[in-house]
Symmetry: D3
Subunit: 292 residues, 6 copies
């Protein structure tokens, strides 16, 4: 009997029941203020992953050694941020309820808010570790409270002062940097301070949500994103940061802002695939820490 065409991120062939980590895509970019296209990120990552090896020489481990399930993309309503966020939150909540780690593929960065709502609901005292070129701390953007440029500000309303830890930030309004000085722990430009932070969080076993805006990478290695910002980190620096942070008690995560059509060389998508492979392996290696 011939089977229908199933398409998942490479090596993520676990059943849902057996899976530790569940991928879910949020193809949404309606609030993107500059160049849209992040909606195509999750399907491009899935589609192009067949060109990726499942084995990581960096971590000497193979994706197929772990149990990951790829649930495909949500069908989200364009033009209504609130509706889209509700659907994302519901999916995250379902995965969490089943004791699995939800790993969201964006989409623009606003999608993080849906996931964080579900995770913060389950895990009071949640910390957010945020890798990004942009502070994303505006109170509103042209009147919209729900915007990619405000997403960490909205998250701050959920988790409070001192629970947001920002790295690689190199762009924002002056007011955002002033807000950060008061309310978040912001590390400009690179990952300085990440090892110390992780050590503290490991010591207390506090739950951590990890949100990675891929534009933290330098545009030289990741041009395919809506708002490229010169002066970012390298792939190897990001890889180190992921392996560092994965030692903490990560209870949810996301990877966002790949806009594949903006880089027709395909390098950005290939790099996003590789970041996802490394993230999955690092999270899976730290799995027991995930249990609450």
């Amino acid at each position: 009997m011939i089977s229908p065409n199933v398409e998942t991120f490479i090596g993520c062939d676990s059943s849902y029941r057996a899976a530790d980590i569940v991928l879910y895509g949020a193809p949404f970019d309606s609030t993107t203020s500059y160049r849209p296209g992040a909606r195509f990120g999750p399907s491009a990552i899935r589609h192009e992953s067949f060109g990726l090896e499942t084995y990581s020489p960096y971590q000497n481990a193979d994706l197929t050694d772990f149990d990951v399930f790829d649930s495909g993309d949500l069908e989200l309503c364009f033009g209504s941020s609130e509706a889209a966020l509700a659907d994302i939150e519901a999916r995250a909540a379902e995965i969490l309820k089943d004791g699995k780690l939800p790993l969201l593929l964006g989409g623009e960065h606003l999608v993080t808010l849906g996931a964080v709502r579900a995770v913060a609901q389950k895990y009071p005292g949640l910390h957010i570790i945020h890798f990004d070129a942009h502070a994303d701390l505006r109170d509103d953007y042209l009147g919209a409270k729900l915007s990619h440029a405000c997403v960490l500000r909205r998250c701050h309303e959920l988790v409070g002062d001192g629970h947001i830890h920002q790295f690689c930030i190199r762009s924002g309004e002056r007011a955002e940097f002033e807000f950060a000085a008061q309310h978040t722990e912001m590390h400009k430009f690179d990952f300085t301070g990440l090892a110390e932070l992780t050590e503290q969080l490991c010591a207390t076993k506090e739950p951590v949500y990890l949100t990675i805006d891929l534009d933290c990478l330098d545009p030289s290695c990741f041009p395919g994103t809506g708002t490229p910002e010169a002066g970012g980190v390298s792939f190897l620096q990001l890889l180190d940061a992921i392996r560092t942070v994965a030692k903490a008690n990560i209870v949810g995560a996301d990877l966002n802002e790949l806009a594949p059509m903006l880089d027709i060389s395909g390098v950005s998508t290939a790099t996003a695939c590789k970041v996802l492979r490394e993230l999955l392996i690092a999270l899976d290696k730290g799995w027991p820490g995930f249990q609450t």
Copy 2:
């Protein structure tokens, strides 16, 4: 004294006071369901128009013979369709109040609704002539009532049965074609029937809003659009249709769905510029008919 940099559509150097026609751009594409990018349409048209001649050998007239004012782009809120539509409506109402013809540059097709709200308010009994590959008659799209795929359905709620005249339609759900059979006058595939319709509308001098989705053109001559549909009309057919319809009492118009980044050859933008030049000249030639 050195002056600052003013950028308008070529030849549109009238003062606002003297202008008959006022261009206004709506760089919005938040509800685009497939490939976004129409937000960049109006600025690309303006920007690339410097490669266009102001003289039309088709109509033996020159843009500089007429009085057109280009008011630039509105600053619209991404992620909130209702807010964006309100801003578009307000701008259209202001132009109408001053006795001028508002000519809207989209953006995705939803922007038409903002303009039609203002125009229908001023002109009861308004007719809409609609050039498009897509019927745009869905009642909702993934739950959203305000979507590019629903825009003519929303317009129908404003102008009623028999007041929407659709041409070149070659894509839609079966239910949209069934709705059209009941409520609109739909001409599939090309401009058959347009001359007769215009004659009737001229006879009665009824007010007409003209909305042109540039994807009515065949993708061979206009690939730079979010949802290209093979089997469309040629540039010369569209030009003929514009010159035909311009004889009616046109009281408002728009040109939308250029997504310039999707056609890096620049041909789609150059063609949109030329369509706009021909539309402006045709409308201006018919100007006295504009008075109600």
Copy 3:
């Protein structure tokens, strides 16, 4: 329970058991002599079909009214034409054995040979109707007998004189045109003669294999192919031809030579999707004629 990500051509959601027509992809382009990339054709068609309506206003029918199964892509060996053809033939034979119509998505044109081997085995006296810019009648190409440039020559060895009917041909070596004059029925440049041919084939109910090289289309509407040839037919001409030929007793078919990366506007892929929708509907409408 969350389900895994299934990806099929839009509206092709039948079970294998219930299906009349079975899609299968052959992502192979190893013998392409000029610009490769047709290997990405079938997955691009499947992937981008979500931007296509299932309803056809041309045929007033909906893909979802029919039973089509999409079996995804074969995993073919690059660099060995014989191995790839064997796998294609085996898949076609399996589909035929189950009484269904195999519809192959290429890939370069050589893949047709695998399918024709299986079909000609089941249906002695098979006719081949061939839409293409190129004659594909070389005896060898730089020494290779198995090449896209030789595929109809190899088919001729299977079905014999007078059983190959070529349309739209506008490129080849002089020797290929001389071979055609002796052994095939060649119609240069367009579809002249297709209606008469179909009438004859309908009268005798002879089995027919339909192979469509999408480069029969003019490059203006289909630039995304390895060897574009100016002077081709339009989308509407191809659509008419498909509806004509579908009245014959079609027992197998293919659609090939989309190289999606060569047309980054996406128009070629969107057009291929639309051709496939129309082909599926036309074949399904003529289904009873399919029974042997």
Copy 4:
């Protein structure tokens, strides 16, 4: 012994001595006012011609039946129009002195002036047949007398009233159309009148220079040019025109304004190659008429 790498337009392998027609490239675009890149035209035509068949089914003839020599590209000085034109003129004069037909590959359209200077020197009473979207009749462009936008005006100064015959023109300033009405024979939009003109020129055996700006083609089939103008002729119309005009006493010719980088699908370059093949065959078939 291994030979060095010779690269010519396909099938143009004659010795210089034996050749009837001599190709020479002018990779110059310094005066292009909009989008440059035509400098890469001749090398792209030569380079991509290996994907072209030498046989023409349109004319049932093969390039290899004729004697054509490809002399490669001139090394021209960017930034000095006069120096570049002098080099082009010298090369054309040398070819003419040897009794051969010079066929120039541009480059921007200004290069024509260099060739016409040499040809008009040898052939008093020269007529120019001009296929183009643009009138190219400005007296100057931003102060420059030597500009692609002025090239036919400069030619008019050499050949006088009634000796320039323009076809397909659909763009220019009003003043250019007024100049044409007085001094040239202009046919707007298409090839209407070409057959009659050719008949007259054949009757008198007057010498003719043929200059083809490839942007006479519609941008749908030829997007790769600096200033695409919607509303042009099709490839088949151009092919017919070439076969018509080749019956006259053609003593020099050029093909220009391919800007290959502007069409990354490669279709424009492939089409230019095919136009050149057909032009070479048509000119060679009419060879005896070339003798003065």
Copy 5:
């Protein structure tokens, strides 16, 4: 009252009268020997700057704190280098006469010569600091003395030995490196020596013209330029160099060789925007030093 569309570099909204720094664009690339397109640089920088924040976290300052005026692009004659240079010189002289700092946006590097002529006229003993991948010290290029490849050689004729300081140079003919050894101070590959040089120039308060060819950046972070040269500096290195050199008495500056169409990801343009923001802030911070 509705206003016309003004487009300036973001945050440069000063009146001319109040401005310290005046931007002026020179969209010229006629002598570019390899890949043209730098003519589109200044308008692309202005156009895409709306995606840039006005605040710099690197310098903790905001563009809107300063007074910069953007006078748009000059309308230059293509094909005549001398005419274009004269227009650039005149504009620079006018800005200097009004006691403001002229900041030129190219265009190809030859445009620097126009500005340097005006600045050297006002400031005898002028030094030039030159960041570039290429030495630009040829005496002529294919016969042209006015060529991008000769621009520093021409400048040397104005300012003399020891007054040109070159950094990041990694390409040129052997003769150019030999010329440099005699007549300029050349630092190959990077910014080694810049701090020392600046210290000396600060001590003496000598006037300095700063010319930045953006291809000093590595092509990985700046692919959008006519002649990319592997092995360049990073964005952060360039940023450091700008902040260092801005301490000197800068009396004129330029930024050139962005060819935006060569990098369709948009990263190069975004990076050029960011370099310009940082340059404007750095120059404005050092403003009092500007007074002579």
Copy 6:
């Protein structure tokens, strides 16, 4: 007398007889498993080299000081790996027989096998130094023994354990890394260990074949390749490695896997040209060591 158009890599104008090094191109990519296009690598390198200076400031030497001959591209059979390899081997053998160093331009990496067969035949005890992102040590790929993914495995069968030295490897199946641990000397990620290795090989004067897969470079500086792998080396690191290894007794070399169409900015091709220039100069400087 006008000469025909000869096209070689810039500065490689030696006669075959006088040449020390002979370039030969293998435009083959039939076994590429992901994105094809490396077939266009050698002609793109040759074609775009006219934008490169012949002088190297890194090595203070000029290509024109040496004797290099460019024999153009072989005409290889697509679809038959064995036939293609035989032709490559024959060409390499001929060059070796004439006492010259064969420098192969790929094409996909499989072409190396043809060259290594010839070189290993002449030089028993041959060592292979391999720069690559990928281990290329699979025993077969989807059944094919002759695949780019297996090329070093096939080479290992020729030269045996301990004779293959791999650098920069960062991708492969786990089994390939296990194979390497047993049979090759693999240095992951960078060039660590290369200097020591070269010293040993110099001491013994053992013959060395150098194969450079350009995807050893980071995709940020070399995106134009079929399978880009984040985390690679920089251009300057590669340049250092080449200068280091050139001190050994290099008896054959290749440079492969540029797929120029995948990087439309042209940076990858320009970088490949520069790598080739530096490789040629480095090899030529070490020429006496080449003698056996």
